[in-house]
């Protein structure tokens, strides 16, 4: 245990590392980073007393002396292959929180497209470091701004279509890794992004990956954004995404959370123009002592937009899933259609879920609803399958697979869906083998 | 009974009715036919006094009195009944409760005492039997979960209970099979009397085989372009609207 308070300890780590962080020689960047670490020092970590952190505590983080990752190492080929797409993509691999050029390959880009690691993004670095808010609830994103060692910058000019998916793969290491992404799509641009956080396999001790992503989707643009978080079972993962959606734009997001001691994916989505559509789906696969948290704030700030949220949780052992889904419909946001559904299967006696769907409706001509259901695998369905001769473990695996299906199928067909499906099926098969979920 | 004089009306600033003249005498049934978008439903809403349907010129006299300054409920109490093309669902409100409130609102207006629960129930059940409706409909929420045909039948049932002086049936035949159509028509015919009139709005001639009109009007682009006897409906059926509209133009 550090003698220094946690914030001071990290501030010290910042001082030590500041000179070697990307943009260190740029005065504006240095000033921003300094301001960010000060903001973090002022606020400290979010805690239970904050409504949006009611169910997820970060005390465990404070019990460790975090080091920033060393600037070395790589990833072995087998691990890399297993964690990446089988098709041609623009692949950016991060090991130790730094861009691994050897493992990466950025293909030819259309005119008007910028895709680069943050560490080599030039002026875009300043934009990427912009604050997500001077507030304790998002203080981790300020810590991230101070310490961000790398990330991805994807900028598409108006009308640019990126055909190949952008694949961001980060391998966790037993250190505090800060990645920061900036994704900006101009009007009518389209892109598909896969963010994948995987176990680096270099150690059994815990790492902490702290991610911030700023996503701006222009008028009529379309972004498909898949996220897979499957690090070491002892890892910590905290991510905050800020997404703004232009008029007539589409944002399809699917988030799979699987491996971590504690993971939180917080997503703030704001509609900035009418006739836009958001589809957010989440799949949580929790076993062991995993504490997996999805927190969403969906702000219908303008009229005529549609949003759909579907979250599924499979919780085994003494896993703990958290789902907070806030929908706010502003007074002027008439004709909003906002739907939300959260479903949970608790597979073990000590498994638990905390869910808080929240509707704040200030306009009257709206269609808003939310639903939540929690229970075990349906006994009748089990019996029906067993009566057809399917062994119990197999029946259960099939039912779970069916449960996850609605999330998996939100991923575009082809290599991307195969990738997500393979992971989910792998997880379920392993769970079935270990005899959990009995 | 009903005198429509040079009626012009707009909806959302668009001219829909462009000078309608029409007189329905007591005891008469008039059919209004016309292609889609000719202003048939607008005419029914204007007569019933729906907000947003603005009369810009002309007048509507009902028993000599102008309706224009009357609220929808006042027109209803005067005896104007609109059978909706799309009857509205009101969750949680039992059909019986709803209808009894309506019956008593109309009775109060006519200086009659409230209909007591027993009499109401007896009358309602008798009318339902005529319309071959299950009595269970009385306890179900207004139109909620009703099939299209059930909704239309419920409209005619309400009409039978309210005994209006002027019934306006807005495409009451749409969505009905032939058996249901006959039953609905019988319900309307049962109300026929020298004191009552009806305006039957329909797209098809079929309904008029069962509710035989005294006069048929063809509406097009917000004007009545042709008026005739019941044979006009047959002519329309045979030739289609296009010819008649072209002839009139």
């Amino acid at each position: 245990m550090s003698a220094l308070p946690f914030t001071e300890y990290l501030a010290g780590a910042y001082e030590a590392a500041a000179g070697s962080l990307p943009g260190a020689r740029d005065a504006a960047v240095a000033t921003r980073r300094k301001a960010a670490i000060e903001a973090f020092r002022r606020h400290g970590l979010p805690n239970h007393k904050l409504e949006s952190w009611k169910f997820t505590g970060l005390n465990a983080l404070e019990r460790q002396q975090w080091v920033l990752p060393a600037n070395d190492g790589g990833v072995d080929a087998v691990r890399l292959t297993a964690a990446t797409l089988t098709i041609d993509s623009h692949r950016l691999v991060f090991v130790n929180g730094r861009f691994d050029a050897a493992a990466s390959k950025i293909g030819a880009l259309p005119k008007g497209a910028t895709l680069a690691p943050l560490s080599a993004a030039g002026d875009a670095l300043k934009d990427a470091l912009a604050s997500a808010g001077d507030d304790r609830t998002v203080s981790l994103s300020e810590l991230n701004a101070a310490l961000a060692s790398d990330g991805v910058v994807l900028l598409l000019d108006d009308g640019v279509q990126l055909d190949k998916p952008v694949e961001i793969v980060s391998f966790g290491v037993p250190a505090l890794v800060n990645l920061r992404h900036l994704i900006r799509l101009g009007a009518k641009a389209t892109a598909t992004v896969l963010e994948s956080y995987r176990d680096g396999g270099s150690s059994t001790s815990a790492g902490w990956t702290n991610v911030y992503a700023h996503v701006a989707i222009g008028t009529g643009a379309k972004l498909t954004h898949i996220r897979l978080q499957a690090e070491h079972d002892a890892a910590y993962h905290a991510a905050l995404g800020r997404v703004s959606i232009g008029a007539g734009a589409r944002y399809a997001h699917a988030s799979v959370q699987a491996g971590a001691a504690l993971a939180r994916h917080e997503l703030h989505v704001e509609f900035a123009g009418g006739d836009a559509e958001v589809d957010v789906r989440g799949l949580v696969l929790a076993r062991g002592a995993a504490h997996l948290d999805h927190t969403l704030f969906l702000h219908h700030a303008v009229p005529d937009c549609r949003s759909n949220q579907l979250f599924k949780h499979v919780v085994d052992d003494h896993g703990h899933a958290v789902f907070q889904g806030g929908i706010r419909v502003a007074p002027q946001a008439q004709k909003t259609d906002a739907q939300q559904l959260s479903r949970t299967l608790l597979l073990a006696d000590r498994a638990q879920i905390d869910t808080k769907p929240e509707l704040e409706i200030l306009a009257d001509d709206v269609k808003c609803s939310h639903g939540a259901s929690i229970g075990d695998v349906d006994a009748q369905q089990m019996f029906y399958m067993q009566a057809r001769g399917i062994p119990a473990a197999e029946a259960r695996r099939l039912l779970l697979s069916g449960f996850a299906y609605e999330i998996v199928t939100a991923v575009p067909e082809g290599a991307l869906r195969d990738y997500v499906e393979a992971f989910v099926e792998g997880w379920l098969a392993k769970n079935s083998e270990k005899g959990g979920a009995a | 009974m009903l005198e429509i004089k040079n009626l012009h009306a707009t909806v959302d600033g668009k001219d829909i009715l462009r000078g309608i003249d029409l007189t329905i005498k007591a005891g008469e049934i008039h059919a209004i036919m016309g292609p889609n978008g000719s202003g048939k439903s607008t005419l029914s809403y204007v007569l019933a006094g729906r907000d947003g349907y603005n009369v810009t010129q002309g007048d509507i006299l009902f028993n000599g009195q102008s309706l224009l300054n009357l609220e929808p409920e006042e027109r209803a109490r005067e005896g104007i009944f609109l059978a909706f093309q799309y009857p509205v669902e009101i969750p949680g409100v039992a059909n019986a409760t709803f209808l009894r409130s309506a019956v008593n609102a109309v009775r109060k207006h006519r200086g009659l005492a409230d209909m007591d629960a027993m009499t109401f129930l007896k009358t309602a059940k008798a009318k339902m039997k005529q319309l071959q409706m299950d009595e269970k409909f009385l306890q179900r929420a207004v139109n909620q979960g009703f099939s299209g045909g059930e909704k239309k039948r419920n409209e005619v049932f309400q009409m039978a209970m309210l005994e209006p002086a002027l019934a306006i049936l807005d495409e009451t035949d749409s969505g009905l099979d032939i058996d249901a159509l006959k039953i609905v028509a019988e319900g309307v015919n049962a109300l026929r009397s020298p004191e009552r009139s009806a305006m039957v709005i329909t797209h098809y001639q079929r309904l008029l085989d069962y509710i035989v009109p005294d006069v048929v009007h063809v509406l097009s682009k917000g004007r009545i372009i042709k008026t005739g006897g019941k044979e006009l409906a047959l002519e329309l059926e045979a030739k289609g609207y296009a010819d008649i509209v072209a002839d009139a133009a």
Binding site: I361, D365, G371, S373 | D51, E71, P72, A105
Partner: protein, 486 residues
């Protein structure tokens, strides 16, 4: 076309005058404003309380002081109001004539007040068969039907009387469901509670009549701190009705009541409330602050507690009638209609804490917002690890009338048992132009149309009320949304 502009106008135009806005002129015995240890001692002495009761109050007072210093009033609810000056409140007032032997001795002016409120005691006594424990300000002045209840062994009396006459019961159960330090307002109540009702139903007895209390806040600047305790023993049953109206006031009046229910094995308690205290004027001036703690404990196996509430009044409502389902196979229910019009703010809901095996709970909440009101459902369903087979079904519907109000839903669901089954649904809707026009075309006035649609929306809850209350509640919904037209 503006979204149901007509509806908005109707509701606004008809918000009208508060029907029960009058002040009864009765000479009151008023303790000077302010709260101190002396206030607590004065109240206790005035009531001739034993030492244990005074000690209990003082413990609460000290705890409250600590809370006030450390955290102040709770700030998590979606309501806003100026900070309350707890030294600017009278903590005790009583009509002067006391120890009445019969209704004839009751101040005629007071009886006339009840008359105006539509609660003619005598009539009720004869016609409705309802025993009324009428609380006027802080002291019970009339209790009827005592004899009949006494024969069955049922105790139904004022809390003051219970403290004197049944100390063993009060000592055993008071604060056992809502602990002294439960929350800021409950703790304040524990220190200064003035009076309230006490009910005990002995084993196996089915209370043959609805027990009811009419509350009324009257004295200017008088906080009301009612304390109700209902204990229903094994296999017994009681249905309790609570209803309130309050006179018009410009200054805000604080009401911080505590209601505790205890249901033993196989016991059943039904508790119904119709609340229509003064909501303040159209701009939010005046009105009652209703900060209430209501909680029931299903102590025994197969016990059942059912809360039904129709909340139409108060400037601010902060109220979460809850059930702790301790017994196996116990049942908790919450049926609620909350109306917020004009500048009213309502933050209400329930907590269902499942501890017993196969415990079941049902939550049906209907929130109606109009004017510029804010209406929040806030609820918690918690299934503890031991509550195998627990079941919950929740349905929260919001109805919005007009485009300047807000309807919010904040359900917390925490499940720690795999065999539990929890389902939650929430919807938001409005009164459509189509619905209004349809009703009006059938001859209903606009205000009747609104009332009809709203009553339909609330049907599932209204039908849970005892008959005589249901009628009153339907009228209330009309009054609070349409004014007193017609």
């Amino acid at each position: 076309m503006a979204a149901n502009a007509q509806t908005i106008e109707t509701v606004e135009g008809l918000a009208g005058e508060y029907k029960y806005g009058f002040v009864t002129d009765i000479e009151s015995e008023l303790l000077p404003k302010g709260l101190s240890e002396d206030t607590v001692r004065f109240i206790s002495a005035k009531k001739g309380e034993p030492q244990w009761m005074l000690d209990w109050r003082l413990r609460a007072y000290k705890a409250w002081l600590r809370m006030a210093k450390e955290k102040g009033e709770p700030g998590w609810a979606k309501v806003s109001y100026p900070e309350i000056d707890f030294q600017d409140i009278h903590y005790y007032s009583a009509p002067k004539k006391k120890t009445l032997k019969s209704l004839d001795e009751v101040d005629p002016e007071l009886l006339a007040t009840y008359e105006k409120l539509g609660i003619p005691l005598k009539e009720r006594e004869i016609l409705a068969g309802v025993a009324v424990d009428a609380v006027f300000d802080s002291v019970s002045v009339a209790t009827t039907f005592k004899g009949k209840l006494k024969d069955l062994g049922i105790i139904f009396c004022s809390m003051s009387e219970a403290v004197r006459e049944h100390p063993e019961l009060v000592q055993k159960y008071l604060g056992s469901v809502v602990p002294v330090t439960d929350n800021f307002y409950a703790t304040l109540n524990s220190a200064v509670f003035s009076d309230g009702s006490f009910v005990y139903v002995p084993p196996g007895v089915r209370c043959p009549m609805e027990l009811s209390t009419y509350f009324r806040i009257n004295e200017a600047k008088t906080g009301q701190f009612e304390r109700t305790l209902i204990v229903v023993d094994k296999g017994a049953y009681v249905s309790y009705l609570e209803g309130c109206t309050a006179p018009m006031r410009d200054e805000n009046q604080l009401h911080a009541a505590v209601v505790e229910l205890v249901a033993m094995e196989d016991a059943e308690i039904r508790y119904a409330t119709v609340q229509n205290w003064y909501p303040g004027d159209k701009n939010g001036k005046g009105g009652i602050y209703n900060f209430v703690t209501k909680r029931g404990a299903c102590r025994g196996a197969r016990s059942k507690i059912s809360w039904t509430q129709v909340e139409t009044g108060s400037a601010i409502t902060w109220k979460y009638p809850s059930v702790i389902l301790q017994g196996d196979d116990s049942v908790g229910e919450f049926y609620s209609v909350a109306v917020a019009n004009n500048a009213q703010q309502a933050d209400t809901g329930t907590k269902m804490i499942h501890m017993g095996k196969n415990s079941k709970s049902t939550i049906i909440s209907k929130g109606i917002s109009a004017g510029k009101a804010q209406n929040t459902y806030r609820g918690l369903v918690r299934v503890m690890p031991g509550a195998a087979g627990a079941r919950n079904y929740s349905q929260c519907d919001s109805l919005l009338i007009g485009d300047r109000c807000g309807g919010h839903t904040v359900p917390y669901i925490e499940v720690k048992n795999r065999s539990a089954k929890v389902e939650h649904e929430a919807t938001t809707s409005r009164i459509s132009d189509d619905q209004l026009f349809y009703c009006r075309q059938r001859g209903l006035s606009e205000e009747d149309a609104v009332s009809t649609i709203v009553n339909g929306f609330c049907k599932e809850v209204l039908q849970k009320l005892p008959m005589e209350f249901a009628v009153e509640a339907q009228k209330l919904l009309g009054v609070s949304l349409e004014g007193s037209v017609g």
